[in-house]
Amino acid sequence: MTVTREQCFAQRAFKAVSDRIDGFGGSDRDKKLKEYKSFVRSFPALIQSCGLAQALAFAISKNHGDVVEDLMATLDHQGNSQDFQESVRTCQLRDYMRKSREAMDAAGWVKRYADGLIEDKE
């Protein structure tokens, strides 16, 4: 049965974010959760304002490879983070526009689940 693109993104993003939350452990779990959530919240707007290639490079430079991985999982990208960035850097304009749009949608789902699943703590 056919499912919509948004349903696919939703399923994959839910799994990626749930697994990410389960994976955070140790005494600084709350701090890690807070940082992850904070970056995820700003990530789609970053893609929109700076462009996909720059947003990915920025995430890596700020030690948020985890967010890039969750984005890749949501997009069902087969391969590692380097491949993904490489494909974004080198693709033609037509593909770049499509990838950017899909990445914005996917990042929106990651944000939505991170918002819903990680509780704000004072």
Partner: protein
Amino acid sequence: MKDKTSKSYWIHALSPLHVGSGRGVGHIDLPIAREKVTNWPYIPGSALKGVIADHHDASAGKGREDCAKKKAAFGTAGDDSSNAGALVFSDARIVCLPVQSLYGTFAWCTSPMVLRQLIRDLTGIVPGLEDLKVPSLSGEKALASKKTVLGDDTLYLQDLDVPMEGCDYVGKWAEFLAGQVFPEDEGWRGEFDKRFVVLSDEVFNYLSEMGTQVDARIRIDPENGVVATGGLWYEEALPAEAVLAGMVWCDKVTVKGVSEDELVKGFCSGKLCLQVGGKATVGRGRVSLSFQEE
């Protein structure tokens, strides 16, 4: 519904413009209104009608009751004495989207589909439009007027590099649109001409989504002076310099002693400086609206 009273109006955004569509479910908490089919930003006619009524001191209620013309133009509510307003405002549709450019500061971007729809809407209303041809353009190419300051053979828009060519048709479009948007300002007409560019529909669509302004807003907690929990949100705006167009006409007037011409001349003439849409207190929505000259 074009009749002898129809005329066009042209909007030039002087500050970012937030005509919202309520709460968004995407990454933007407060997105702007967009047409369903094209997903291009627009201003609903209802938003403009209210603002223009207010500009003429004809807001619903007391402002209209005492003046037959205002009553006829904008309508009145009430069980026994209600009447429909005669002035009809179409939605204002996007004509040029301003996008950051390495050369020329910014470009006024449009696309063949935008121009085609403009011709369909305004032919027979705006003289000269029937002589203009829609440039044919596909793939990753841009067409500019020969006076362009946007670059030599490449247009550097935001993070897109697009091959660009000079084209006479495009120069004619630039001249025509500049005449409508800046009827009394030769300086700005020249600036428009130098920055007007036609992109392919797909690049224009992309920029109409990715090229809008997204601002992060926060609410400070007065107790500790830092952002309050849950007090961060993102709101979208159509960038300053955007150009939109629509039309207005006068439907049947139901108030005695008032003519259609009188209403169009009285309420839809000249150039108005208005505030349209939300977020006015943080500087959003300052526009210049020019009605087509008689």
